[in-house]
C-alpha cells in the first residue's frame, strides 16, 4: 500500500468533532420542532449542517440548492475540514464556474444520516448522551429532502431557482421536484434514477455486510467501545468504487500493470496497480467517513422508488409541474445507466413537463459527473442561462 502521511488518530478526533459541531454553518432544531420521518418517527432535537456561497439577492430569487451524493458533504466548493481537499464539485461550483457563485446563492447541506454535522448515527442521542448508533431511525431520500426544506425555510428562501445533484443527489432533486414542485424552478438530476435498481441494492448489500462482518463494528456501537470497523468500511468502499468507474477507464488507467515490481509474486500482495489503487481508496475513505452513516445512507438509496409514492405511476409524481428539467446521463455509466434517466424523461413527457435530456459521451463511468467533462459544463451553463431568462433574472455576465 502507498505510504500515507496522515495521522489516523488525529483524523478520528477531527471527524468526531465535525459530526457534532461542524466547521460549517449549522441550524439546530429543538425537540419541539421535530422532523417527521417516513418511518413514522418524529426525530428531535435534530440539526443540519450546511455551507453557502455567494449572496442571496434582494427578491430571494437566485438561490440554488446542491444535493450531494452518497459520501459527499456540504463542502461543495470549499476545503473539506477532515481531508483538507478542495470542495468535491469545485469544477462545477465557484466564481466564474458553470454554477457561478458570483451570481447565485448556493446552498449545500450534509444529508440526514450523514457524518459531517447533520444528525446521523454518530450524533449524540439527547436521551442517552451517547452516539445514536443503530438507535437512529432509518431515514429515506424524502426525509433528507424534508430536512433540506426546513433549512431552506430557515434561510428565508421560498422558491429555489434550481436544485442540482448527481447520483444520490439526483434522487433528491427528483424528490424535491415531486414533493415541492412550486418551490423548484429548475431541476438538474445528473446520473440519477427515479428508483434504486435490484443491482444497485445488491452492491450496497455487499458493502453493508462487509461493515457488519467486521468484529469492530459491535452491532453498531463501536464509538462507545473506542474502536472502528475500518476493515469492513474499507472493503465496502473498494467494492463500491469499482461500480463508479467503467471497464474502459480501469483498462486505460491500470491495464494489467504491476505495482512497483517486475514480476508476479505468486502471493496475495497487491501485485496489480488496480489492487493497490483500490486498497488506497478504501484506506483513505475510512479516514473521512463513518461506518454506520454508510449503512444509513445506502439504505436510504435502496428504499428510493419515487413512483411508489404516487400509486406506482411515475408521471403522477410530476403531474402539472411547472419545473424546467434538465436530465443528464453518461454513456459509460452502468450503475445509473442512461436507460434509467430515459425512464424519468418518458415520465416527464407523459406529464407534458418542460424537459431537456442530454446523454454525454464519457468513458469514465458513473463518477463522470464529478470530473472535468466539458460537455457537461456547457450543457449546464446553457440550461441555466435559459432558465434564468425564463425566471426573469439576469444570467451570469448580464447586467443586473
Amino acid at each position: 500500500m502507498p505510504a500515507d502521511s496522515h495521522n489516523p488518530a488525529a483524523r478520528d478526533t477531527v471527524k468526531a468533532n465535525e459530526a457534532e459541531t461542524p466547521s460549517s454553518k449549522l441550524v439546530r432544531f429543538p425537540a419541539e420542532e421535530p422532523l417527521e420521518l417516513d418511518s413514522g418517527i418524529r426525530l428531535g432535537p435534530w440539526q443540519i449542517a450546511y455551507e453557502t456561497y455567494g449572496t442571496l439577492n434582494a427578491d430571494r430569487s437566485n438561490a440554488i440548492l446542491i444535493c450531494h451524493a452518497l459520501t459527499g458533504d456540504q463542502y461543495v466548493a470549499s476545503t473539506n475540514p477532515v481531508t483538507g481537499k478542495p470542495g468535491w464539485w469545485h469544477l462545477m461550483v465557484g466564481p466564474g464556474r458553470p454554477i457561478d457563485t458570483d451570481h447565485y446563492f448556493v446552498i449545500c447541506a450534509n444529508v440526514l444520516g450523514g457524518c459531517l454535522g447533520t444528525t446521523g448515527p454518530a450524533t449524540l442521542n439527547a436521551e442517552t448522551g451517547a452516539p445514536y448508533g443503530l438507535d437512529l431511525p432509518v431515514v429515506t431520500i424524502r426525509d433528507m429532502v424534508r430536512a433540506q426544506a426546513r433549512l431552506v425555510d430557515h434561510l428565508g428562501v421560498d422558491t429555489l431557482f434550481a436544485v442540482i445533484g448527481g447520483s444520490m443527489g439526483g434522487m433528491q432533486v427528483l424528490q424535491w421536484a415531486a414533493s415541492y414542485p412550486e418551490r423548484v424552478f429548475a431541476a438538474i438530476p445528473i446520473a440519477a434514477a427515479a428508483r434504486h435498481t435490484s443491482q444497485n441494492i445488491a452492491f450496497h448489500e455487499v458493502g453493508r455486510q462487509a461493515i457488519m462482518a467486521d468484529p469492530n463494528w459491535r452491532g453498531g456501537s463501536y464509538i462507545v467501545g473506542g474502536v472502528r470497523p475500518t476493515k469492513g468500511l474499507a472493503i465496502a468502499r473498494m467494492a463500491a468504487h469499482v461500480t463508479y468507474m467503467s471497464d474502459e477507464s480501469l483498462h486505460q488507467k491500470f491495464g494489467r500493470n504491476l505495482q512497483d515490481r517486475e514480476n508476479l509474486t505468486f502471493g496475495f500482495d497487491a501485485d496489480f496497480q488496480i489492487e493497490s489503487y483500490l486498497r488506497h481508496q478504501g484506506m483513505t475513505f475510512v479516514d473521512r467517513f463513518d461506518a454506520n452513516s454508510y449503512l444509513y445512507v445506502t439504505r436510504a438509496m435502496d428504499y428510493f422508488d419515487l413512483a411508489q409514492e404516487f400509486g406506482g405511476t411515475l408521471p403522477n409524481a410530476f403531474a402539472n409541474t411547472k419545473t424546467r428539467f434538465c436530465v443528464m446521463s453518461f454513456t459509460s455509466d452502468w450503475l445509473f445507466p442512461t436507460s434509467e434517466s430515459r425512464s424519468v424523461v418518458k415520465a416527464l413527457n407523459a406529464a407534458a413537463a418542460n424537459v431537456s435530456f442530454v446523454e454525454i459521451e464519457s468513458d469514465r463511468g458513473h463518477d463522470s459527473f464529478l470530473l472535468d467533462v466539458p460537455e457537461m459544463f456547457e450543457t449546464i451553463q446553457g440550461f441555466m442561462i435559459g432558465a434564468a431568462h425564463a425566471r426573469g433574472i439576469p444570467a451570469p455576465g448580464e447586467a443586473r
Binding site: 424546467r324 418518458k346 424537459v355 431537456s356 435530456f357 442530454v358 459521451e361 440550461f383 435559459g386 432558465a387
Partner: protein, 210 residues
C-alpha cells in the same frame, strides 16, 4: 434531423423557418420535432415568445440545443411520440422530417393527437426538375435541394404535395393553410391551382387541424 441543406449565414433566419414561424401564435406551447441545432426553436422562442420544446434524433444536435438554452430531448419521431398525452401542445411542428420516418402515416396520426394544430413542411418530390431527371435521364433525381444518391439517402418515404394532401384527407385532417416554397425557402408569390404548385414548388408548409 433536418434534411434540407443549410443555405443561411450565421444569424440569418432560414426562409422556411420564417414561414413556419408565421403560422405559430404568440406564446403558444410548441413541440418542434427534428430540432437539428435548434435554429427554428430559437427563432420561435425569441420572435414568437413560445413555450418551446424540441425532439431531436442526433445526440450531438440535442447537446447543442440544450447548451444554447433550449428544452430539447433526444428522441425518435417514429418511436417516442406515444409518450406525450393528447393535446399536450398548441402547435406541433415537423420540419423536413416526415420523408425520413419509417411510418409517416402513424407519425402524422400522433402529431394530430398531441397537437391542437400541426405544422408540417415537406420537400416536393414531384418538382419539375425531379420529373425531368426521371423522364430524360432515367435516373433517380439528385438536386441541390435533395443532394443524396438513392442508396445513401435518409429520405425513405418521398411524396408529392398532392400525395401529402391525400394523406391528410385519409387522416381526416383539415388543411387550413398551404404555402408553396422555392428551394431557398422563399414563398412562391402566386396563387395557383394545386397541380401547378405540385410542379413548381420545391417544398411546402402545411397548417393542419384535426
Amino acid at each position: 434531423m433536418n434534411l434540407a441543406p443549410r443555405q443561411t449565414r450565421p444569424g440569418e433566419v432560414r426562409g422556411d423557418h420564417k414561414v413556419v414561424a408565421s403560422l405559430v401564435p404568440y406564446g403558444a406551447r410548441v413541440l418542434d420535432i427534428g430540432s437539428e441545432d435548434g435554429a427554428l426553436l430559437d427563432h420561435l422562442v425569441h420572435e414568437r415568445q413560445v413555450d418551446g420544446r424540441g425532439v431531436e434524433l442526433s445526440q450531438a444536435g440535442v447537446n447543442r440545443c440544450v447548451a444554447r438554452g433550449l428544452s430539447v430531448i433526444q428522441g425518435d419521431a417514429d418511436k417516442d411520440l406515444s409518450d406525450y398525452p393528447d393535446d399536450a401542445f398548441d402547435v406541433v411542428i415537423l420540419s423536413q422530417t416526415l420523408q425520413a420516418t419509417r411510418e409517416p402515416k402513424k407519425v402524422m396520426r400522433e402529431l394530430l393527437r398531441i397537437g391542437k394544430q400541426v405544422v408540417v413542411s415537406i420537400p416536393n418530390f414531384a418538382h419539375w426538375r425531379n420529373r425531368m431527371q426521371l423522364l430524360f435521364r432515367g435516373r433517380m433525381p439528385v438536386t441541390k435541394y435533395l443532394p443524396y444518391e438513392w442508396y445513401d439517402t435518409p429520405n425513405i418515404h418521398f411524396c408529392s404535395l398532392r400525395d401529402f394532401v391525400e394523406l391528410c384527407h385519409a387522416l381526416d385532417a383539415d388543411v387550413e393553410k398551404a404555402i408553396a416554397l422555392s428551394a431557398t425557402g422563399n414563398k412562391i408569390p402566386v396563387n395557383a391551382p394545386w397541380w401547378v404548385w405540385n410542379i413548381v414548388a420545391e417544398q411546402a408548409v402545411f397548417l393542419l387541424k384535426r
